[in-house]
């Protein structure tokens, strides 16, 4: 297995490299997950499984003993029963609903307040449909706080919105592929990798669909 692991990690190698890796093909040892201290951007879209990937990051954080947070605009579309079905402990996850009056700085402000505490292992910010603040200073602050407190800060964005900025360490697109009825794998496309750590998404190789999904 160790012999196969090296060539399979090649598509991740090097910063700013793109490539497609099938999670199913990765041996367990290669699926190390994301190192802490990164700003990660997961692009959503048709055929994508960005939320599933983000949930796996939350789950990995919880399995390491660290609580997690999910930040979304008020009236967001998170569906907690599926998080519970995936194994997430909902008591160890706070969900922040940012009201519209907070404006475009609301989501980053919530993330910054949580990151500054150093009490969370993963923070997911669902920015889809919300215009981020102008400039990159807010990303710089979040990046340094994430590094200082060893926290994974994950942004869920829509593909039409483009990247949030150059300070994003890792930009991924996770897509689902049906391998047999009711069973799916996540295929991860690395759009940008400035970390040099060859990170991979944590989580199992196979994912079950919701009840009723063939």
């Amino acid at each position: 297995m160790a012999v196969r692991a090296l060539p399979l990690r090649v598509p991740f190698a090097g910063p700013l490299s793109g490539g497609l890796v099938r999670a199913l093909d990765l041996p367990d040892r290669a699926r190390k997950g994301l190192p802490p201290g990164l700003l990660v951007e997961l692009s959503r879209g048709p055929g994508a499984a960005a939320t599933t990937a983000a949930v796996q990051i939350v789950l990995a954080s919880q399995r390491a003993g660290d609580p997690a947070a999910w930040i979304q605009p008020e009236g967001g579309t998170l569906y907690p029963p599926d998080l519970a079905a995936a194994g997430v402990d909902l008591d160890g996850l706070i969900v922040v609903h940012v009201p519209p009056r907070a404006g475009r700085a609301g989501l980053p402000k919530a993330a910054e307040l949580l990151l500054r505490s150093g009490a969370f292992g993963a923070i997911v910010v669902d920015v889809e449909g919300q215009a981020p603040p102008r400039g990159g200073a807010w990303l710089g602050r979040l990046g340094s706080l994430a590094r200082e407190h060893a926290c994974r800060c994950v942004f869920l964005t829509a593909p039409s919105e483009g990247s949030l900025g150059p300070l994003i360490s890792l930009r991924l697109r996770a897509a689902r592929r049906r391998v047999r009825p009711g069973r799916f794998v996540l295929e991860t496309e690395v759009l940008k990798d400035k970390s040099g750590a060859h990170p991979t998404l944590p989580g199992p190789a196979l994912h079950l669909g919701p009840a009723g999904l063939p």
């Binding site: 959503r44 048709p46 609580p67 569906y79 519970a84 909902l90 008591d91 009490a119 999904l213």
Partner: protein, 487 residues
Amino acid sequence: MRARVACVDIPALPLQLLARAHPSWRDAPFAVVEADEPQAKIEWVDPRAAALRIRVGMRYASALSISRDLRAAPVSVADIAALRAQILESLQARTPRVEPDAERPGVFWLDPSGLGPLFGSLEKWSAHVHGALTTLELRGAVVVGFARLPAWAVARGRDDALVLRSAAEEAELAGRARLVHLDLPPELRSALAALDVHHLSGFLALPRGEVGLRFGPEASRLHALFDDALRPPMQPAGFEEPIAIEAELDPPDDDANRLLFCVKGALHALMAELGARSLALRALTLRFELERHPDHVEHLEPARATRDAGSVIELVRLRIADVRLGARVERVVLVAEPARLDGRQLELFRGRRRDPDAAARSIARLRAAFGDPSVTRAVVRDAWLPEHRFAYEPTTSVDAPDPSPGDGGALVRRVLPRPEAVPHGRDGRPRTQPPLVELTGPYRVQGGWWMQETLRDYWFGERADGALLWLYQDGSTGGWFLHGHVD
């Protein structure tokens, strides 16, 4: 002369709370249920419902089949706590020493020492206390006796005020009390019934040593309490009067930074006052009195009771940063809700890598910035309709996580807060853009049959671009709706 003690007994507090909240139910049988669901268990029944043979422990749907007139609703622990606080406040106006019973939610112990001469007699004072219950629309008894549980035994089944003349009279009246009215543990009550012991006098006639040996230490403790052999000292609840400080602004001002400095000065004075009373700040209410406008009020709660002005001023800064005041501020009033200082031992070796107190502080900051309901934890509920399967509850802390150990993954859905209508073609199938290439289902979901029946057929639809939609067809209208998608 032996000291007196007064017992205030408010029977079936959750039922009385429900009756207060629903005045129209007073003439109908009603019950307290554990949740607002048809299969929820009944926890309390009023005499009308009991006469219809509706029993505690029965499912609401079963009870409804006995009587369609039955009314029921859940009563939360928070509601009961709020009512107890209200009763305590009312009783503290009649005597400074009031102790809420730790085990019985409807029982309060009062110290009537010195109040007889003040009111003319203990009878007048007890009638005054009983009047306080009537004012609160509650039914109960006030018994001034000599020992706690014997006085309570006398109060059970009464709804008036009574002053007992002697300890012997108290013992005689208490001895007549039926055991079914004394909230004994069910096992003990059953065991005593098997021994043909139905009244307190029979229970007290048993040797205490034998009671402890046969029925356990709890039974022995109750025996000693009812026999006046154990006299726990009165532990009155403390007064927690709000402390207020105000600051005049001359000339009136509406600049957020200057207002913050004004609040800061007042807050230090407030903290000094709290420190002098050995108290801490549990919550802070800020009232901005505006020029020719109604007052603007903000309420803040730190992560835990504190005397650290710096952390509180940060919460104030976060809160007033986005506040738009309609006019200039003439006066700022700070009202502190005090609490006892939560002195905790420092932990040298923590079990968790992450500091839970730091998490609580960050949550307090978020609540200050975005409002108290903005920080929540998700709760999954047992329901059929997807939108009823979860709820968000405001939280002030986050627990150490305990995720499931399984190594299987699951795809996650996104659910729209309001389903969107989807047009359908002549074939009855939904039409989307890009078009659907596969439609799988249906999976029927039915709910709310006891109120307003909902019938939906759920389908998974795969679009040509790979998107997996979660759709449903409404059973009553036949219309298609997009409820979410797999992501």
